[in-house]
């Protein structure tokens, strides 16, 4: 359909809303309640424009679909005045405490008032007051005075997260946002309301008063907390990681991140972090520390045990694999926190493919815990494209609260048999079918489930998605270096990251630890070396659908801290392995050539897109 917006012609598909059409040609129509991931409601009236043909009043651009030959005027006197009037209403109860508001600098209410509002306020009347700020969880504060009642937060909870911890109480001008019976928010998806709120009504308590939007830089990176691989922005100021926000990638996260990804970052700036290699508890140079380790672990075969971190990068895993194929051959390698699922399946279901599934089956997994943002994508498929959902779990999981979701229970330990029985389940007779499977947090035999799921998928023509738990579990599985669950019986142990839940095995003759924080068992270590975090490390992760994504660290490792790949290269040298990588790009090139699963490493990460230009806005009245 072709229409004109302020004289610019634009052609868009039928059903497109006027706001979206305007975005395409860079015309700004201000919005509060409208959000492209939520259903339109038309609650705030800020998006008023003049339409012809149309009624002689301004209409909401966020609820009106385009029509052939329509003329939209964003800058006509009627439209400009209507929006300015709405903004004046929005500000009647607004406290205007921008100087102490964390939203200041990235606040649509500020920006729109500046670009579309009246320059001065006529309001003399007293404003509504509420107690503020109100903590609504450990991590989020609510300021009801600043709220413009756009209902983005409550609609998000309802439509996207399928929870109603957050609601609107009272009505009319007295309405305010409240948590269920004033209880703290519990959801692992709560933090997205901070990004959604168009004003400073919902702010992060973790970031509160730490910095301003304009004094930070950010990099377009990837979350390191689980195997979903949500895209994030990492915000830095003066060498510290200030906050983490969502960065929309429709193929993976659809613009959401979970609270683990959003709030678990403060350790990066902790003064308690290890900074210095130590040998026998005294500070030492890297060369000494690494040669001590090399001398102790070289050629020990299966008597050497290695534990590697969940968020090891592909590059680090590649360098480690070289050591394991050489001087460390035969060593036992474990990855605490991973599932027991085997390597990648044949017919992988991509996260974005969930949108098109007719039926989704979830086997032996609480998706909300294992792969949080995949949980939201499943909900989207059910709510927006009418997918049918079948959960196969011993207990009910969060999906099952939704009417229409079918549940198949099985005796714990018999997941694989339950999967085979699904063969003639009525819901699976019509495709496309997507099967998500886990190992019930370690309670089931992942290999048996994977085999059963592969069989079922082949029989009914389904695609499958293993729900790995560890961030780069899939990348490491592709290299084939993992060969155990426990280091028991190993005499020489090198822990990297948090060791196994059971701690360091008994009877260890040599212990070296590579870690970002001191842990009790470090006391027994001959050598301790400091590790970088996701905010300093270069490299990439393979997410649970097999997609390789690059970390873009906003921080430099503070000397003597060194990046993971550098340490591994030097450890290789100390072990007598020739190696002369000058930069991580050379590691990536070799890794891509050696392992087909890492071929994507040869393609350098795309440069960050330039900041979006400020759209053509309507002039002030």
């Amino acid at each position: 359909m072709t229409l004109t917006i302020d004289g610019h012609a634009v052609t868009v598909p039928k059903g497109t809303l006027i706001v979206e059409a305007a975005k395409l040609i860079g015309v700004e129509i201000p919005v509060f309640c409208y959000h492209h991931k939520l259903d339109p409601v038309g609650a705030c009236r800020l998006c008023l424009v003049e339409l012809s043909p149309g009624p002689p009043r301004a209409q909401t651009a966020c609820t009106t679909p385009v029509a052939e030959g329509m003329t939209v005027r964003v800058t006509s006197p009627m439209a400009v005045k209507s929006r300015a009037d709405i903004l004046e209403f929005e500000l009647t109860n607004h406290p205007l405490d921008c100087p102490v508001c964390d939203k200041g600098g990235e606040c649509p209410l500020q920006d729109f008032t500046y670009r579309h509002g009246y320059p001065v306020s006529r309001v003399q009347e007293p404003r509504l007051h509420f107690a503020k700020p109100l903590p609504i969880s450990d991590r989020i504060a609510l300021d009801r005075e600043r709220c413009v009642l756009c209902y983005r937060c409550t609609r998000y909870y309802d439509e996207v997260a399928w929870e109603q911890e957050l609601t609107t109480n009272q009505r009319g001008v007295q309405s305010y946002i409240a948590t269920q019976f004033d209880q703290p928010l519990q959801s692992v998806f709560s933090g997205n309301i901070i990004d959604l709120c168009p004003v400073g009504a919902l702010t992060s308590r973790v970031w509160r008063f730490q910095s301003r939007p304009w004094d930070m830089d950010h990099t377009a990176s990837v979350c390191s907390r689980c195997a979903v691989g949500c895209n994030v922005n990492l915000w830095e100021r003066r060498g510290e990681l200030m906050r983490v926000t969502a960065r929309e990638n429709v193929e993976i996260d659809d613009g959401w991140i979970c609270d683990r990804g959003r709030f678990e970052y403060t350790h990066v700036n902790s003064p308690e972090r290890l900074a210095q290699p130590r040998v026998q508890r005294r500070p030492a140079a890297w060369e000494e520390a690494l040669s001590r380790i090399a001398a102790a672990i070289k050629g020990r075969g299966p008597r050497l045990g290695l534990s590697i971190p969940a968020d090891i990068t592909n590059e680090e895993a590649f360098l480690l694999a070289r050591l394991l194929n050489g001087p460390l051959r035969g060593a036992r390698v474990v990855m605490p926190g991973r599932t027991s699922l085997p390597g990648p399946p044949a017919n992988q279901l991509a996260i974005k493919d969930l949108d098109g599934c007719r039926t989704i089956v979830v086997v032996a997994a609480d998706v909300r815990a294992d792969a949080p943002i995949v949980n939201l994508r499943v909900k989207k498929a059910v709510a927006k494209s009418g997918a049918r959902l079948l959960t196969v779990n011993p207990e009910l999981i969060d999906f099952d609260r939704h009417p229409g979701v079918e549940h198949v229970a099985y005796e714990p330990g018999h997941a694989a048999a339950a999967v085979r029985k699904l063969f003639d389940h009525p819901l699976l007779q019509e495709g496309p079918v997507g099967i998500l499977y886990g190992d019930s947090a370690g309670a089931e035999d992942g290999a048996a489930i994977a085999t059963a799921v592969a069989w079922l998928a082949k029989e009914i023509g389904a695609k499958v998605m293993p729900l790995y738990r560890a961030t780069n579990e899939r990348g490491v599985l592709a290299l084939g270096i993992l060969n155990g669950d426990s280091l028991d019986g190993c005499e020489y142990v090198f822990t990297w990251g948090q060791a196994l839940a059971g701690g360091v095995p008994k009877g260890v003759r040599f212990l070296a630890c590579w870690d970002d924080f001191a842990r009790p068992y470090h006391d027994r270590a001959q050598v301790v070396i400091p590790a970088v975090t996701f905010a300093e490390d270069q490299g990439s992760y393979t997410n649970l659908e097999g997609r390789v994504q690059f970390l873009v660290p906003p921080l430099q490792p503070k000397p003597p801290l060194r990046q993971g790949w550098e340490v591994l290269q030097d450890l290789g040298l100390a072990l007598g392995l020739g190696s002369d990588y000058l930069g991580i790009f050379q590691v990536q090139r070799d890794a891509a050539a050696a392992y087909p699963a890492l071929a994507a490493l040869a393609v350098p990460p795309a440069p960050a897109p330039p900041p979006a230009p400020v759209a053509m806005g309507a002039a002030r009245p």
């Binding site: 929870e163 109603q164 911890e165 957050l166 609601t167 609107t168 109480n169 009272q170 009505r171 409240a178 948590t179 269920q180 019976f181 609260r401 009417p403």
Partner: protein
Amino acid sequence: MTLSDHTLKEIRELPPKYPHIRSAVMPALDLVQEELGMLTQEAMTQVAQALQVDPGYVEGVATFYSLFHLEPVGKHHLYVCNNLSCQLRGAEELLTHIKESIGVSEYGQVSADGLFSVEPVECLGACEYAPMLRADHRFHYDLTPAKIDTLLKEWRGDREGKKARKEAHPRAGSH
């Protein structure tokens, strides 16, 4: 305060009558208020469980409507119309009179004997009989302080009051 099994059963029978399960929340809350006189947090949670919605949603609905009571009210809660017609015919004086008679200083406060509370409301659609009030699902018309006294007497269990009212107000209707 929690709900009786009987009310819960009635609530569970509501959803099929509505296109969406959420539509059953209002009639369910009506049933709760009928039984308990007010909506307690426990009862709202019970409603939420019975209808398989979140308690937060029930709370949002309950706070939206001023006819749902979230605080205790008297056994007889008096909704006294205070809109234009009733106002012109002395609603304000009636309200003051009622407050004094039942011994409360604030709207919504419950009298010491637990029998009464009073609240001004907007037009109840009976302007032709102004001033008027609604209590226990009945409308009472053409009120004067004297008629209020009779009503209160009756509600206090005074048989004389009842008789007196029947004679004085043959018109009192039920809506």
